[in-house]
């Protein structure tokens, strides 16, 4: 059952928040030992919040579609009185004295926070095989990674522990786990959702967004978390809108970009098949498929990588002499960032402005762009190289190749399940829109992926 369907049942008093929360906690207890999706379970606080939610509903006070719904947040969102580790041993005992804006607004919307999800160390990687808190496992095949860095959020939603978990995305960290775990992952426009009270990684690249089991649920969550926040310097004053698409939205006449270069060049054969099916589905709904040449996305990725390396190392510099407190992969990235001159960072930000203008040229010809989210499905835990179209490629670079540039541009993008590969592993379709076009990309996503995604047997 989707979040919105559950919300409707709650409002009709067919089910209580206390029952939903008990079911969520029970599912976590049964499934978490084999997935490690949830790092901290807040059982008592959740039960109390659920009782309060039920009392309010009984008193005629309904806070909205999240009222009484059990949710989780990635363990880099500050939660007052509950430890927030960022997946790092550096912060293993850090207990914030306030909530992140997103947590504050979710609670104000009546959501019941049942726990904090596991993640890649410091959100700096895509495996979520965390050296300090254990590897998060993909519910579809527990020998495989869930993606990352919001791997616990993807796995928790896929495994049916919660209907929604918040993630963060600096170079694909919401969309990659959405793709690998077969759920919906929305990265809103930079500035649309507050970053206040979250552990940063790359200040100019970090985005916050939900992972859900339906497109409409993602829209319902965005309705609650989007908006101006004076505590986030990048926050936009642009008015919010209703982001929940109709059940059967009209996309007739919309122009959907089909990349002629880069995005479909080197992808797994099953991903290619699923992409063709997605274009066909959109076409059958009346959308116009427009072939487009995209700018040099490999160059965009280079610039995005450089900016992230520099920003992350600058941020974590006070801790970099404590080498034994970091996993080997994260330490290697932090070392690289230290060795880049300041001039390279500034020049990367100068290139970024031009790239933003160059990519914006596409929007006169198309309304949104379809790409695969990842060129592969979920790799095995510990696998470092993937063979794609006969070529070996580093798993981390392959997983971020189609998503990283979108962070550089700050554009909204949603990953929706669009099929499975020969092993039954989920494939993700990425839909990218122009700045603040969240409602449009969710409308298109709902048209091509209208059903709630299934929960695997565990």
């Amino acid at each position: 059952m989707t979040l919105l369907e559950t919300a409707a049942r709650l409002r009709r008093r067919e089910i209580s928040s206390a029952e939903l929360t008990a079911a969520s906690l029970d599912r976590i207890e049964r499934v978490n030992p084999s997935t490690n999706a949830m790092q901290t379970v807040m059982a008592e606080a959740a039960r109390e919040a659920a009782i309060q939610a039920d009392d309010e509903l009984a008193g005629g006070k309904a806070r909205g579609p999240l009222h009484g719904i059990p949710i989780a947040v990635k363990d880099l969102f500050y939660t007052k009185g509950v430890r927030t580790t960022g997946g790092s041993s550096l912060f293993e005992n850090y207990v914030p004295d306030h909530d992140a804006t997103v947590v504050e607004w979710l609670r104000a919307g009546g959501a019941v926070l049942v726990g904090k999800t596991g993640m890649h160390e410091l959100a700096y990687g895509i495996t979520s095989s965390n050296p300090h808190f254990g590897a998060v496992r993909n519910p579809w095949d527990r020998d495989r990674i869930p993606g990352g860095s919001s791997g616990g959020s993807g796995a928790a939603v896929a495994a049916g522990m919660v209907a929604m978990a918040m993630g963060s995305d600096t170079g694909g960290s919401i969309r990659i786990p959405a793709s690998f775990c077969g759920v919906v992952g929305l990265k809103p426009t930079y500035g649309r959702v507050s970053r206040h009270g979250t552990m940063p990684l790359g200040y100019s690249l970090d985005h916050m967004g939900p992972l859900t089991r339906s497109v409409r649920d993602a829209g319902a969550v965005l309705n609650v978390i989007a908006g101006y926040d004076c505590r986030d310097e990048a926050s936009s004053r642009r008015p919010v809108e209703n982001y929940v698409p109709d059940m059967e939205p009209a996309i007739r006449g919309l122009r959907i970009g089909m990349p002629e270069n880069f995005y479909l060049d080197r992808i797994d054969a099953d991903v290619d098949t699923a992409m063709r099916a997605a274009f066909h589905t959109a076409e059958t709904h009346g959308a116009e498929i427009v072939p487009v040449r995209v700018p040099d996305i490999a160059a965009f990725n280079t610039v995005a990588r450089l900016i992230l390396l520099a920003e992350a190392s600058a941020l974590l510099e006070p801790y970099l002499e404590q080498r034994d407190r970091f996993g080997a992969d994260v330490m290697a990235l932090l070392d690289q960032g230290r060795l880049l001159p300041a001039t390279d960072y500034i020049n990367a930000q100068r290139l970024r402005s031009g790239m933003q203008r160059e990519f914006a040229g596409l929007w006169s010809r198309i309304d949104c762009l379809f790409t695969p989210t990842t060129p592969i499905t979920a790799p095995l835990i510990g696998e470092t190289a993937a063979t794609i179209a006969g070529e070996s490629e580093d798993v981390r670079l392959a997983s971020t190749r189609l998503v990283r540039a979108i962070n550089l541009l700050g554009l909204p993008a949603v990953s929706v399940p669009c099929g499975v590969d020969r092993r039954g592993l989920p494939i993700g379709l990425q839909i990218v829109g122009q700045p603040f076009a969240e409602a449009l990309i969710l409308r298109v996503a709902q048209a091509v992926a209208p059903v709630e995604v299934p929960v695997p047997r565990l």
């Binding site: 004053r237 690289q336 060795l339 290139l351």
Partner: protein
């Protein structure tokens, strides 16, 4: 890269006073070299009028950056 000197990451590390072990540098050298190969030609194409994407905004105390921007 062919016309450029390859960077010596170990010398850069020592000159900066970083305590990064040689073994760690050996592991990241290829990645840094590849970043150099991709980035240097892009940076050479920059012109004076290309401003960085991060912009400092001057505000008076108590004012929020962007406060006077149009919501549109």
């Amino acid at each position: 890269m062919s016309n450029e000197l390859k960077k010596d990451w170990k010398k850069i590390t020592r000159a900066n006073g970083f305590s990064i072990p040689d073994s760690a540098l050996d592991r990241i050298a290829q990645s840094l070299d590849s970043l150099e190969t991709g980035f240097r030609p892009l940076a050479r194409g920059l012109r004076q009028e290309n401003e960085p994407a991060t912009v400092f905004r001057c505000t008076v105390p108590g004012e929020t950056p962007g406060e006077w921007e149009d919501a549109g």
